[in-house]
Amino acid sequence: MSKLSIDELKAKAKELRTLIIDTTVWAGSGHYGGALSSADILTALYFRFLNIDPANPDWDDRDRFILSKGHSGIGFIPCLHLRGYFPVDELKNFNHFMSPFGMHPDCKKVKGCDASTGSLGHGLPMGVGMALGAKVLKKDFKTVVLLGDGECNEGSNYEAMMAASHYKLTNLIAIVDRNGFMIDGPTETVMGLEPFADKWEAFGWTVYECDGHNMQELCDTLDKAWANDTGKPVAIIAKTVKGKGVSFLEGDVRSHYGAFDSAQAEQAKQDIANM
């Protein structure tokens, strides 16, 4: 697949957001807030950056992606569909009996998914392992891990951050979906993360901050991360809005998880169309 242009990526992200709404309806409920905040990041990765082959999901040399914030499966799994891993019909059974798709992605069942996640704080350690493994195997694939900001409360992340810089994992990219919310409230009210960039820097990472909804800026930042000549692992803190694109969800703590009635789903899709 050729890499999409910025305008094409913007359109694709809209398509993904719309599919997130549909999938939430099919599933009965979902963690739509964090899925919508990650939608542009996922789109940029899957349609421009990740070197992958949907016809050959287990290709050894592919770039690896870990959705450490596994509850955003309702964004990630539709994205894999759009990228061509499986037909849309399979999404209609999301969450239901025997579906390969539950709220949290299971790599044994979801084609294109590199790691099973859902328990927060597991993705970065696994990412360190994959990036280290690439060095052992002398392969030049990248490993990208997408984290939630609330997720960055988990101590395991800091253990992994320490290891990543210790081993100079320049092939590892961590992206934090900095939407400012966790379940119980704003991150800074529940458990303050700031000065957040300083924390990553103190652990030996190169840190870039960008607007996680500005496709141009996002791609420019990912370009730098891909080219990484800093000698350190790269973290991107992507400033985002929880529930982005849906007027009644944006920036609302209640956007974390829930269900849509048909009027809300319609409204949500309208809002996305008007983005």
């Binding site: 239901h96 009996f97 099973s116 609330g150 409360n153 988990e154």
Partner: protein, 340 residues
């Protein structure tokens, strides 16, 4: 809403027909905290999801949300207990039993601290969430920790009683509840609840089901069906306390019915079934025995009702298993005087 008073504390009795077990937990804890100022709450970004936030709303100075950090959650709870407080620590069962397991074992159980752990979304009650959120190992893990008391209430009414009763236990207690949409077993709060004491909920002579949690209601329904359709007389025991286990009620059932089936929303490895099996084996008495639960497997995805049916934990699945055990052979041993 009835008022209930127990040795110095009083709390309102909530209706499990209209409230989830989680909600009742938060409310009872809040009531108990009004007269016991040692009670504090700790959670890890699941104030709302576990409903400990109901307490937190009224007692913001005694509620601590440590963020998404379960190891810290149980370490902090241990510290609070060390200085004389009684922490209730709430998260999903899977994160209590697995993520925080070493803190629970080494900080809380080893030092025998009065931390009350309420694990919600236990078993496969959060079926759609998949294996990262299912928890079918917590009973096995928690019961293996010295000093730990393990309780799996049948419903919200029983959860309320367990939350109250756990204050009388000087050490750590683990109470496992579901997601909260399970129908209640008890009609109201008028029943006796004593930690460590099984409850005979239905008498019978042919076979006994020993169960806990959601299994209680389903087993009673299965027993009714078996009586009506097959003429099988089924005894049902609600053994809400897995540890310490009520040996007496188990051995009595072995003696009187000679067929035992355990039903639990848990792996059949290490759970209630294995506790019951050990009691029977140690007694030296023979009986037909079957454990129902999840086999050595991660559960599939789906809404809980579908999963309960799939894993034969609903009344018709249980009834089928009872029919199967009725034909099972066992060696008779008529000399019971030495054991029971």
């Amino acid at each position: 809403m009835a008022e209930k008073t127990i040795t110095g504390t009083s709390w309102n009795v909530y209706d499990a027909n209209t409230m989830s077990a989680r909600e009742i937990y938060g409310r009872v804890m809040r009531e108990l905290a009004k007269t016991n100022d040692k009670i504090v709450g700790v959670t890890a970004d699941l104030e709302k999801s576990t409903n400990i936030g109901i307490f937190g709303k009224d007692f913001p100075d005694r509620m601590f949300n440590v963020g998404i950090a379960e190891q810290n959650l149980f370490g902090v709870a241990a510290g609070l207990a060390k200085v004389g407080l009684i922490p209730f620590a709430s998260t999903f069962a899977v994160f209590a039993a697995l993520r925080g397991a070493e803190q629970v074992r080494t900080d809380i159980c080893y030092q025998n601290l009065p931390v009350k752990i309420i694990g919600t979304h236990g078993g496969i009650s959060f079926g759609q969430a998949g294996s990262t959120h299912h928890c079918t190992e917590d009973i096995a893990i928690m019961k293996s920790f010295p000093n730990m008391t393990v309780i799996v209430p049948a419903d919200g009414f029983e959860t309320g009683k367990a939350v109250e009763a756990c204050l009388d236990i000087p050490g750590p207690v683990y109470i496992r509840v579901g997601r909260g949409f399970e129908p209640p077993f008890h009609k109201d709060h008028n029943f006796d609840f004593e930690i460590g004491k099984g409850q005979l909920v239905k008498d019978g002579t042919d076979v006994t089901i020993i169960t806990c949690g959601i299994g209680v209601l389903q087993s009673v329904n299965a027993a009714k069906e078996l009586q009506e359709v097959d003429g099988i007389s089924v005894r049902v025991i609600n053994i809400h306390t897995i540890k310490p286990i009520d040996k007496e009620i188990i051995l009595k059932a072995v003696k009187e019915t000679r067929r035992i089936v355990t039903v639990e929303e848990h792996s059949i490895i290490g759970g209630l079934g294995d506790s019951v099996a050990a009691v029977i084996a140690e007694s030296g008495k023979g009986c037909a025995f079957t454990k129902l639960g999840l086999n050595d497997e991660f559960a599939v995805v789906g809404y809980p009702e579908d999963l309960y049916a799939h894993y034969k934990l609903d009344s018709s699945g249980i009834a089928d298993s009872i029919r199967a055990i009725m034909g099972k052979e066992f060696e008779a041993d008529e000399d019971w005087s030495d054991e029971v």
